[in-house]
Each structure stands twice: as structure tokens, then as C-alpha cells.
């Protein structure tokens, strides 16, 4: 058995138009960690 965490790469916006509910660490300083392979992220 594996310990698997599934992220869905979806977004919602709060009242200040900040992305919330996302689960990819796209603000990480390491670009490999921050890579958004679906190309729909914006900070």
C-alpha cells in the first residue's frame, strides 16, 4: 500500500482575488517544487 495525496490543481479566489484552496506549492523558491505542469497558475 502507498500513502498517496491527490491534488486537483484547481483554484478559487478570495475577496482580494488571491488564489485559495490551491494545493500546489507554486510560491516555493525552488522552481522544480513550484513547477505548475498544467500551466494555469498565476501569482
Amino acid at each position: 500500500m502507498r500513502d498517496l495525496t491527490v491534488h486537483d490543481q484547481s483554484w478559487s479566489l478570495d475577496k482580494d482575488d488571491r488564489a485559495v484552496d490551491y494545493t500546489n506549492p507554486f510560491d516555493a523558491s525552488d522552481p522544480v517544487t513550484a513547477a505548475s505542469v498544467s500551466y494555469t497558475y498565476a501569482s
Partner: protein, 343 residues
């Protein structure tokens, strides 16, 4: 143990799929669906195909809670663009992140319309369950699917062994419907993607060994691309075009997660892939992408640089992040898979 991050719908049973209707109606079961784009010709093309269309600049005039397919042919994703769709549901197609020519835009729109999102999500659920339950490696092999090569055929064939960590994260979308205020990538439907944890830990999630015979190659750019990254992405696009023009499959050899050679016919592209994806990364594989939009495969033109090709083959391998260098995907379009026995 399986953990679903809060915005992910629960995994469904093996025999039940969500979503009625076909294509985009599976994503947006009710209400009008608008193709919203930053290109007037693409909007006109969508209208010719029987869809409602609107320009990006006119989004504010759409009804509240509209269902939108956001086709970005000229713009990378930005916060300003995302803000326009507050109060709406959005299926996002980042055409420009790959290639924003009119031909690619029309082709990509065609594939977005043709995709069976219900079947793709069903496969996403299958992979989620299987990766959790099976302890062994995933083996992709040309002999495991339809059209297996003859034993006497001595051309390279795919045999790729994917070893996965015991604890791991994956990206995928599990049920078709997008609700109001959700911004979802079309790519998330078409694959289950596993990426390396960091530059300090390339093999912490997966390691790859073997041969991948690739029908298609994609080049993608992240919206956070650096100046050095932009230059490398241009190199990668030229490289990709050469690979597509040579008329031979691209053969990757990998050892312990590192690309040891990339050839097509008698041409060796290994060093150029290394430079284009950021030479500092030394050809470590960044992404293992398991394709789940397999229904689309018979209708794919592998020569094209469209995101919709990415999930149409059983597996693809990605190098580079699209930020400091190109993200290059190499797509296998043959064979099937099995899980090896653990231990």
C-alpha cells in the same frame, strides 16, 4: 492510505462514472457554455462549430455563473485574467503556454471539444486507486497494448519501469464537473502527474529506467518564466520542430531517472535537450505523466505542440520546469501497462 486535498471530489467506485452528456456537457452539465478567447478568429471558429463564443475583453457582459472554456491563444495565465472569471466556472486551456499559432489554436479547440471527460476522469480514478493499492513498479511496455510489435521487429520499443515512492503526491482531476468559481486546467483532466519534489531530491517521488519510444514532443512555458528561461524555450521550440520534421519516433533511454540519450533516426538530440531544459538539471526527469485521455489517441496529430496531445498517450516524461528552461514532454503512444510484483 489515500488523502484527497480539500478541493478534490472523492474517488468514485470502479463502475460508476460521473457526468452525463458528452464532451463539454460533462464538464458543465447545465446552462450555456461559452468559449471565451483572446482571439477573434478563434472565437469565429468556435461559433462555426456551433458553440457560443465571446472575447476575453467582453467577459464582464456574460451572465453570472456562466460556464466558460477559457482559450488563451495570445496570453499566458495572469491574475488579471483570472479575476475576470470571478463568479463563473472556468475550464482553462493555456494554448499560448505551448504554441499560439492559429493552426494550433484551432486544433487544440477541436481536441477540447472531442475529449470524453467522463472516461478520462474514470481513468484518473483507476490510477489513483491502483497506485495506492499496488506496491510494485509500474511497467509500460509496447507489448502490453493493442498493436504490439512482432517479435521479429528489431526497432526500439517502449519498456519503461517506473518505481514510485511509498509516500507520494499526484496531480489529477477525478470527476468531470466544474462548479461556479472553480478555475480548472484542461490538463488536469487528461493525466495523473507525479513531479520530482525539488532540485535537491530528483528521485524522491519516482525513478525511471528503460526505453521510451515517443511519438510526440511538446514544449511548454510557465507564466513565471525568467529571461534565461525564455531563451531556452525558444531553443526548445526549434529543437521540437526539428524532431517533428525528422519523421522518426524519438527514443529516450533512461537510467535511475536520468535521460542518458535522446535520439531520432541517426540524430542525437541529447545535449540540446539538456541545454534547453536548463543544463544545471543534468537531464533529471522532472515529471512522470500518466496519460488518461486515451480515447483521443486515434485523432491526434503528434507533430503538433498542443497540450491536448500530452494526455492522449499512455505515458509521458517531462524535463525542465518551464521557468528557468523549457518544459519538454516526450509522449509515448504505444503499449499498455502492468504493475510488477513487489519485493
Amino acid at each position: 492510505m489515500l488523502r484527497l486535498m480539500p478541493t478534490t471530489p472523492p474517488v468514485q467506485s470502479e463502475t460508476r462514472t460521473n457526468g452525463t452528456g458528452t464532451g463539454l456537457r460533462q464538464v458543465f452539465p447545465e446552462g450555456d457554455i461559452y468559449l471565451v478567447t483572446d482571439d477573434a478568429d478563434l472565437a469565429a471558429y468556435g461559433t462555426e462549430k456551433g458553440h457560443k463564443a465571446a472575447l476575453l475583453e467582453d467577459v464582464a457582459g456574460l451572465p453570472e455563473k456562466s460556464n466558460c472554456v477559457v482559450l488563451l491563444q495570445h496570453n499566458l495565465v495572469s491574475r488579471d485574467i483570472r479575476r475576470k472569471f470571478r463568479g463563473m466556472g472556468a475550464l482553462v486551456v493555456p494554448i499560448r503556454a505551448f504554441e499560439g499559432t492559429p493552426e494550433l489554436a484551432r486544433y487544440t479547440l477541436d481536441k477540447v471539444i472531442e475529449t470524453d471527460y467522463g472516461k478520462a476522469c474514470e481513468l484518473n480514478r483507476y490510477w489513483t486507486r491502483s497506485i495506492e493499492r499496488e506496491s510494485g513498479d509500474i511497467v509500460f511496455d509496447a507489448g502490453l497494448g493493442p498493436g504490439a510489435p512482432d517479435d521479429g521487429d528489431d526497432r526500439p520499443r517502449t519498456h519503461l519501469v517506473c518505481r514510485l515512492a511509498d509516500k507520494l503526491s499526484a496531480n489529477t482531476w477525478l470527476t468531470p464537473e466544474i462548479t461556479v468559481d472553480k478555475w480548472v486546467s484542461v490538463g488536469a483532466y487528461c493525466e495523473l502527474s507525479i513531479t520530482a519534489p525539488s532540485t535537491a531530491d530528483w528521485t524522491g517521488a519516482f525513478s525511471l529506467d528503460g526505453t521510451a519510444v515517443c511519438a510526440g514532443v511538446l514544449v511548454a512555458q510557465d507564466s513565471r518564466c525568467t529571461d534565461d528561461g525564455e531563451a531556452r524555450i525558444q531553443q526548445a521550440r526549434a529543437l521540437r520542430d526539428e524532431m517533428a520534421a525528422c519523421g522518426e519516433p524519438v527514443v529516450l533511454r533512461l537510467k535511475e531517472g536520468v535521460l542518458t540519450s535522446c535520439t531520432a533516426g541517426d540524430q542525437d538530440f541529447t545535449e540540446r535537450v539538456k541545454q534547453a531544459t536548463n543544463p544545471k538539471y543534468d537531464l533529471h526527469a522532472l515529471e512522470l505523466g500518466i496519460g488518461t485521455n486515451l480515447e483521443l489517441m486515434p485523432r491526434v496529430d503528434w507533430r503538433l505542440n498542443s497540450q491536448m496531445n500530452e494526455g492522449a498517450g499512455p505515458v509521458h516524461i517531462g524535463f525542465g520546469e518551464g521557468i528557468t528552461g523549457a518544459h519538454m514532454d516526450f509522449i509515448v503512444a504505444e503499449g499498455g501497462h502492468e504493475f510488477s510484483k513487489a519485493g
